[in-house]
């Protein structure tokens, strides 16, 4: 893997920090190449943490952090990592970053830690992270890899936040714990129990994929 670096065909002497090519690293995963809806990776956590917006946001930020820095470190080390043990090296770095996130949450956001700790740990197994390391960071320069990590992280985040939005408002009538339904006059809002169970996430996710594919015309081959 590390031998396939893209350093050979340097087109320009100096590329601008946000060139068109680089912007694509960030924007592609938001829609056309979304890790959840198109690549269908990271579904497990998309189901597990999305009952409410607040933990989902923390989860999203954690994943973005882990993706950016694991991409960065793997890319920095890409010429030093022995090919035969690259997967375990990636795992070690991802696991370290994930543990860091968990420890910081435990120290400064204990409520979130209690709620999310299992799922934060499981970021290690999130296919999006390892997928980007294998497919991108091992063969590209650090800055490009950071952008790629940011893009995939954001792509993951906006989907799980959207799922959480619908699940929280239908499942408990709230947004970020604020009683929206009560505030707009639905005092006796009947919460939908289906939405707080993982099945609800599948349904919402299905609708998002449906809407997205009918717009982009994406078809699986």
């Amino acid at each position: 893997m590390s031998t396939e670096t893209l350093e050979a065909p340097v087109v320009k002497e100096k590329e601008s920090l946000l060139s068109k090519r680089r912007k694509k690293f960030v924007t592609d995963p938001l829609n056309d190449d979304n890790p959840i809806t198109i690549q269908v990776l990271g579904i497990c956590s998309a189901l597990a943490v999305t009952t409410q917006m607040k933990p989902t946001l923390v989860m999203a930020l954690s994943v973005i952090f882990v993706m950016i820095f694991s991409n960065l470190f793997i890319s920095l080390l890409r010429n030093a990592i022995p090919t035969r043990v690259r997967i375990i090296v990636q795992l070690a770095i991802v696991a370290t970053l994930v543990t860091l996130v968990n420890e910081v949450l435990k120290a400064y956001a204990f409520d979130m830690y209690k709620e999310l700790s299992v799922f934060i740990g499981l970021i290690i197994t999130n296919c999006i992270v390892m997928g980007r390391l294998e497919a991108f960071a091992l063969g590209n320069k650090p800055y490009d890899s950071v952008l790629d990590g940011l893009g995939s992280g954001l792509g993951y985040s906006w989907i799980i936040l959207t799922v959480a939005f619908f699940r929280e408002i239908w499942g408990s009538g709230k947004i970020f714990g604020y009683d929206v339904m009560g505030a707009i006059g639905f005092e006796n809002f009947a919460a939908n129990g289906l939405m707080v169970s993982p099945v609800g996430a599948f349904i919402v996710l299905g609708f998002i994929i449906w809407v997205q594919r009918s717009k982009t015309g994406y078809v699986e081959h």
Partner: protein, 256 residues
């Protein structure tokens, strides 16, 4: 060179040392803050067993919570026979707040330590005991505030590790916990029966009576765990109650 066994071994060793060092460093740096937030969380749960305190907790800063806790809670630790224990295994001083209920739960009931928290504020008194048990998926625990005569539950604060959100996890909601307030732990014959959560929800109060609370639809197995936990764990405290609380009540009565 890069693919030689020697290189791979050295690379792995260096990586392990660097990452390991980083993690242990972080754990050292964050340790005190983590202990503080864990401590705050426990104290919040203990205070939360008293309904009046719980209502105030939401608007309080961490320092205020700790100050309030120090003001109204005193604690002691008893063993299974009800004798007070004040040194830990290593001979150091033992504080009820530091007794790890989860670790104790793994021992046989006779070998466990039983912390007791005494609440006293504005003339109101209450005895708070921690309980621990198994829900449907994972551990559940509670701090139960008992009236000074030990007959009624004044309030509870439940928590859990992995119950289903919206179903079993509802035990952490105020709605469910309020159902326990004022319920009676003893039947009319004076036998300890604990408080029992019935199956199915919206049972009329007239059918429930003083020893039962309304159930949670779709979470009967969690409710069973809660029932089991309360019955057993409050039961474990009976010899402490006999030696230290009931005698106190009696002697107080005699003085009057």
């Amino acid at each position: 060179m890069q693919q030689s066994n020697r290189y791979i071994i050295i690379f792995s060793l260096v990586l392990t040392v660097v990452l390991g060092g980083l993690l242990s460093g972080v754990s050292q740096v964050l340790g005190p803050a983590q202990k503080k937030s864990q401590d705050l969380d426990t104290k919040k749960q203990i205070l939360g067993a008293i309904p009046a305190e719980k209502a105030a907790l939401g608007d309080m800063e961490p320092e205020q919570i700790l100050a309030r806790y120090a003001e109204v809670i005193s604690s002691e630790v008893a063993d299974y026979q009800g004798n007070l224990v004040d040194t830990d295994e290593k001979g150091g001083p033992l504080f009820a707040e530091n007794v790890n209920i989860e670790k104790n739960y793994k021992k046989a009931p006779e070998e466990r330590l039983y912390p007791v928290f005494k609440y006293s504020a504005d003339g109101k008194k209450s005895i708070i005991v921690p309980t621990y048990g198994a829900g449907l998926w994972d551990a559940i625990w509670a701090y139960v505030a008992l009236s000074p005569d030990l007959k009624n539950i004044e309030g509870v604060s439940f928590d859990h590790k992995g119950e289903t959100p919206g179903l079993g996890a509802r035990i952490t909601s105020d709605e469910i916990q309020a159902r326990y307030q004022g319920k009676n732990l003893y039947d009319q014959g004076g036998n300890f029966v604990s408080v029992y959560m019935v199956k199915s929800e919206k049972t009329p109060e007239s059918k429930l009576g003083p020893n039962k609370v309304d159930g949670m639809a779709g979470a009967t197995l969690t409710a069973n765990g809660v029932n089991d936990m309360l019955l057993k764990y409050i039961g474990f405290y009976q010899s402490y109650f006999d030696k230290h609380v009931r005698t106190g009540v009696l002697s107080m009565n005699q003085e009057f």
